[in-house]
Structure formats: C-alpha cells, structure tokens
Amino acid sequence: MCLVEVEKSPKPVASCAMPALPGMKIKTNTPVAKKAREGVMEFLLMNHPLDCPICDQGGECDLQDQSMAFGADRGRFTEMKRSVVDKNLGPLVKTVMTRCIQCTRCVRFASEVAGVQDLGMLGRGSGEEIGTYVEKLMTSELSGNVIDICPVGALTSKPFAFKARNWELKGTETIDVTDAVGSNIRVDSRGPEVMRIVPRLNEDINEEWISDKTRFCYDGLKRQRLNDPMIRGTDGRFKAVTWRDALAVVAEVLQQVKPEEITGVAGKLSDAESMMALKDFVNKMGSDKVLCEGNGPSPPADLRSNYLMNTSIAGLEKADVFLLVGTQPRVEAAMVNARIRKTVRATQAKVAYIGPPTDFNYDHEHLGTGPQTLVEIAEGRHPFCSTLQSAKNPVIIAGAGLFDREDQDALFSTIETVAKKFNVVRPDWNGLNVLLLHAAQAAALDLGLVANPTESIKSTKFLYLMGADDVDLDKVPDDAFVVYQGHHGDKAVYRANVILPSSAFSEKEGTYENTEGCTQWTIPAVPTVGDARDDWKILRALSEVAGAQLPYDSLSGVRDRISMVAPNLVHVDEREPCTISSEVKPPVKQQVSSTPFKTVVENFYMTDAITRASKIMAQCSATLLKK
C-alpha cells in the first residue's frame, strides 16, 4: 500500500523498502501511484470477508480506511474466498483468522517485543495463516498489544467483543495506576461506564505498549464498588447511612481516642492529594503515625535517589550491564521489563539476577538467591565482578520488595558499596535504581508518609485505611476502630467499622509519581459511583466535623500545600533528579541477614483492589498462570 512513483523508475516503488537517495524525485499522489495502490488493495480484499458491520475493528480498521481511499466499489474475484480456522490465544485476545491479511505484525511483536515465540506464519501461498501450530495460549504479560497492532479485525479484544463501537466512545487521556510505571493510557468510556483502556504513546515511559493488567483491569472498576457510606451495626452487618451520619460517627470516635493512638494508612492506589490530606489530618489530630503500605518498616525517604529509578526508564536503553537485586521486573513492572528486553536485544547487554528463580524473557545469568551473593559482589569475590568492572554504563535495579526486609538498611548500603566499587554512579550516569511496586509509593515517600507499620498498627485504637487492603489486619487490636475509605469492597472491608466510599483513578483528578520520579495526572473519565467522593474531599469534610479543619477547599489548594512539602509533585510530566548525593548518609551498623529474597508479586494479574475485583483478571490468573 506504500507504492509511490519515482521519477525515471519504470515501475512504482515500495516506499517502505526503498532507501531515499539524493536527487530522487518521489511523487506520492499521482494517477500511477493511485492505480498501483488500487491494485494492491484489490488483492488484499480478495480473501477478506465483507463482515465490517459485525467486526469489532470497524471504525478503527486500517484496511477499512485504506479501502475508503483506494478500494474499488466491486470486486472482480469470483472464486471462493478462503476461510481459516480461529485460534484460541487465551482469555484476552479474540481471533477471527479469516480476516487476517498476513501482515505478520503480531508474529514480529510476539517474538521481538513480548519475547514469547509462540506465533508464527504457517503454510504457504493462499493457505498461509497465522497460528501457533500446536494448541497454545499466548502467555505474555503484553499479549493485549497485538490487538492494537493488528491492522484488521483478526485479533480483537475478547472482553470488549461486541460491547461498543469506537465512535460511541469518549476518550480520556490519563495514566494507569496498577503498577508504579504510570503507563500513559486512554480510557474509553460510554456514559458512566469504562468500556476499554488503550495505550497512549509516551516514548519515555511505556512507548506504545501497555501490560495486560493495565489494559484489562477495567471491568474491576464496575464490580465490588462501594457506593454509600456505611456503618457496621451491633449485629455485625453494614448499614447504608448518609455522609453526615458517617462523618459524625467517625468524628465522635476520634474525640475519644488519644492522639498517639490514631494511625492513617494510605493504600497503593492513593494519589498525592489524598495522601497529603491524610497526613495533614492525622498530624492535626496530634499523631505522626501515617504511612503508605508497601514501604516497609523504615522507608528510605531521606533522599529521593534512594527510592527512585534514577536512570529513568528510557535511560535503561543506554545501559550495557544490568544487575537485578530481588526484583522480578516481568511481573513487578512489565513495561520496565520490556525496556530491559529491548536493550538486551539491541545491544546484547548482559543481565544478572539475584533472587528466587523466576521467568525472564531474555538471556540472563542467575547469580544467586540471597543477599550473600550481593555481599560477594561488594567484596569483589564474585566472578560477575569482572563483567561489572568492564561495563561502561552499569545499572543496578533493586526491587521495592527489599523495603519489607529487616536488613534493608544494610542491604541498600551493600548495594551502594557495589555501586561505588564499579562506578555505577558518576556525574554523567546514575545507574543506581529502585524499582517501586505501587503507584502511590513514590509520592508517599516524597510527602513523608513514613511511619513504621508494625508499631503503628499494633498500638492503634483508631485506624484510618485509605484504600489500604494489604496491611496485616491480624495485627490490628480487637478494640480498634477501623475506618475504611476506598472504592472497592476488598480485603480490609471485612474488618472495617465505617466505610466511606471514594472514587477510583478513572473518576478523579489526582497526581501520581511513577517509579522514575515523573509526576503525572489522572483525568476523570467517568462520573463516580453512587455517593462516592474524592479521597481528599472526604478527609477535608471529616476534618471539619472532627474540629481540625484542613486549610484547603479546592484541588488547587491541596496542590499549593503539596508544593510546599514536595514541589516536584506539582511539576507535571517532569522528572526532577535528586541533587544530593548519597555520600551524606550515616554509616549503617546493621548486618545483612542470609534469608533469601522473596518473590514479591505472586500473581501478576491481581495486585490491588481493582484487579482483584476484575473478572477478566481472574480468568487470566486461572488460565495463564497454570503451572
């Protein structure tokens, strides 16, 4: 379809395959070029079924667009059209293989980007077809992207099948919060319903791909939602009440507990505004026990470089040696993994991994399972040291799972020793990275939500859970009063005394900081469910009822307050590098323990309240994770 006319060339030239030469005169819009394209179009449509009215790609189909420009209004092909048996690629990708025009984009994507060599081009001539030959599901965490790259309706989204036409959808350009990457997405909605999620181009973060979790978690936004404030009665059942009553009850309990018994916990999907409000509120009540889940007993919040991906995601492409410590990027941050894979493929960069055995889709060297290997590298006793020594741009990526370890200070100091020894941090290159797990983590550390979770929760009498579902609820004292503010009836609701419904990321404007320290905003795509409100507004209202009114009434007010605490959080789409070197850190007296590193994300498809509520994600974990 890319045929153009080149002066002095007797035939039309395929522009995609012809290098431009000096003095070449190329004509793209001449009768010759048009006729040539019409000819190609006729061949493409020869075996293509005329099922546009029932095809999900209709309206956003490359072939349809091209045929509007170059297609004839009738075909000359009178033979039988070819038909191809549909393939089963799993719960995410629906196939209608008869529509395939054999462009092999999906084959190339699967083998080059996703790193699963399952798809291939089988047969020859008119019998040619895309398939896996043996019955095989596409078990990649990026498989959903073949839906986008398929130019026709051969590969379409199974959950989205026959749900909506693309011209009925309203697109909202926002970001994803299911992991710490902050992939740029477009939420397509119809009325109050999120119909699908598709990626948005951002070369610095997710390029043009998104993970399956990002793409297909949206049905979780419609299930298990909390839509009314609720109070648990004496019979143990929840009763829907008005906001006024719910807030009054919470405020009353607040008056009865001692200030130091108040604990606030932000969940992994919290935005910076609500965490700011939570911190201000808890502090105003006289307590400093406010934390964000997943940041461990003593969060390394003193220096930003201690918890960010300092190389930046795009910067990983310049690296030539990777040392992954206690992190499984394929499940923790699929887009970062795709970037590492891209680097490995392009430059044969070496990857070494310390941690439990796990899946990689590129060549890697498994050095060991525990911190002992790391110590050996730091002391220069490990054979891998020579590789690190000769590396030009070495990168160390430590997993955020290390935050939960008792010996995290010692571990990070060992990692810094390695970094210093092998010149990982230089004025022109910072290869020392931490890969975070949750969307809220970086902003929480910026804002100083750094209390120790075990101690804060053990002694609490009033626990305020803001979307926090993964706190250890067994540790919560029986007489503690638990307020759960969140959008999903997930784990923590079972322990809650009061439920305050809030809005999900698709329904609110919020600031999120991704793992590389890039601040991004979500934009509301759909209205909130029921009586739910934005998180920070609930806290603002509660503070007023409790008699400790927070000094902001609007989103810009909260952001002004944030700019005083962490100014980088108001500079949207910018990465603010850390300027203070890690040299200023005090010496560590802790000893590295010998406990091996643990797998942090057991189930890639279910990591937070939204994905746990999603039926599609449940299907994925049932079929694709089968061992």
């Binding site: 070819r82 399952d118 291939g120 047969g123 019955e135």
Partner: protein
C-alpha cells in the same frame, strides 16, 4: 436459459456441495477450484498431507519421546558443521528431511521439537518451515509414498488418469494410507521430467534413512503404473526412469532420428595456429 453469472454461481454451489461432503478436514479448506477436480474423483486440492495446525493424536503429540538414532545423530552433526554456530537454524531443512526418513516418511511434532532444541530456536520456527514445504509430510504416509506430478505438461499427457488408476487400484483417496500401510498417493509440483511426462516419484521409506530412495518413474500409462505398484508390493525394484520400452533416458523413442555420429565441433578459430 440462465444468465451466465447465475450459471456460474449455480455451478460453484454444486462444487461446494461436493467438497463439503468429503471428509471434514478437507472441507475446512475450501478447494480453490471445485469443479476441475470433480472429474479426478478428488474434491480437495491439498498439496501437503496435513492441515496448517497440529491435532494431538496417540501417534503424533508433543509429549511423545523422539530423538535421532545414533547413526543419524552423526549426520545431524555433519549438517551442523556446514553452518556457523550462530546460524544453526540453517540446518532445519536437512534435519527435517532426515527426521522424515527416519520416521517412516513423516515428521511428527515431537521430531520438530527435537530439531528446535538442536538448532536452539523456538519450536514455532521449525513448524513454520515444516508447514511451508509441501514435501515434509506432517501426517502418516505409506512406506511407499507415490507422488503424482500434476503440473501442466504431465496433466496434458494424462496425469489425472494415472492418479485415478492408482487411487482405484489401491482403494484409497488422495493422501490416505492403504490399510496395509504400504502405499499412499499424493500430488506434487513439476519435477522437471516434462519431456517424459507423465511421471510419478516414489519415496521409499521401507528401509529407513539408510536405504531411503526417491525414484522417478516416467512415461507412464495407467496400466504400467499399476504394474509398478504391484512390483513394489512384492518387494521388487522396478527399473527407474522411463517406462517406455523403446526409449533410453529422455532420448527419442526408437533411437535417434537425428544427430547421428559425433557432433561437429563449433566453428571457431584455430587455436593451435595462434
């Protein structure tokens, strides 16, 4: 009288009905021209012996253990030595051929997996090659796989009658194996024997990869081809090449009518004189 377009459509429908009445595997792939083969008693135009996807069966599944015999492993290493170590996949085609000879004329999916392991590529890359080339059989064939050339010169000289005679004599359809497992009939493209058309090629897998032969039988008649099959059945080796009694190789029947004697050297300058 129907208008021409309607007549064409009616004929097509008829052709479609014939093809769907045959076995379901063949019906999955609609024949490209249903009418032309109705005469030959064959409803589907399948070049290779199988579909473009694999269906598990007791004798062909990925869990089946399969490896090259020791003698063939030597050949495999010989094949690999032809290629640089980072381009081992160049050896896929000769290895598939070897596997086919070893496995009685067809390549099971387990053999493809074994080859993928040897050349260090994903199995799908081997499947792609095996499905592309029609000479790799991915379902069972007979010990003698008879391939009838169906390209234009042979067709004009009566290849369809040859195939019909074979199918009738053996009592099978195309790509089916006789009940004794000895014969199967397939179609193939031009093998360059057009001057002695029609011809068949017989792939003999009865003696494993050591005694494997691939012979052409040319200048056939429906009678002669049945005789050849009978000879093969008795374990004899029919003389390969032309079956015309008076013809030698591809020379004219009854001896040369021209070009008697030594050919005259081309007129050229006298090199000795220089």
């Amino acid at each position: 009288m129907l208008p021409p377009a309607a007549r064409l459509a009616a004929r097509r429908l008829l052709g479609l009905a014939t093809s769907s009445a045959s076995d379901s595997a063949a019906a999955r792939r609609l024949s490209r021209s249903p009418i032309s083969y109705a005469a030959a008693g064959c409803s589907s135009r399948l070049f290779s012996t199988a579909l473009n996807y694999h269906l598990d069966s007791p004798e062909n599944n990925p869990d089946m253990p399969w490896e090259f015999t020791e003698a063939n492993m030597k050949k495999v290493n010989e094949i690999l030595s032809h290629y640089p170590s980072n381009y081992k996949q160049s050896g896929i085609i000769p290895m598939l051929d070897l596997a086919q000879q070893q496995h009685g004329g067809w390549v099971p999916v387990a053999a493809m997996n074994a080859i993928a392991k040897i050349v260090e590529v994903a199995p799908i890359r081997v499947y792609e090659v095996a499905t592309f080339y029609t000479m790799f059989n991915r379902t069972k064939v007979g010990k003698y796989h008879l391939l009838v050339c169906g390209t234009t010169p042979c067709m004009i000289r009566g290849s369809r009658e040859i195939e019909e005679a074979l199918l009738e004599h053996l009592g099978v359809k195309r790509n089916e194996v006789t009940s004794d497992g000895l014969f199967s009939v397939g179609e193939m493209e031009c093998m360059g024997c057009c001057v002695n058309a029609p011809m068949i090629a017989v792939a003999d897998y009865s003696k494993g990869s050591e005694g494997y032969t691939y012979n052409y039988y040319e200048d056939l008649t429906p009678k002669r081809v049945v005789e050849i099959v009978e000879m093969l059945k008795r374990g004899e080796t029919p003389p390969r090449g032309t079956q015309h009694p008076e013809r030698k190789n591809c020379g004219p029947a009854g001896g040369n009518t021209t070009l008697h004697g030594e050919p005259k050297p081309p007129p050229c300058r006298d090199l000795d004189a220089c």
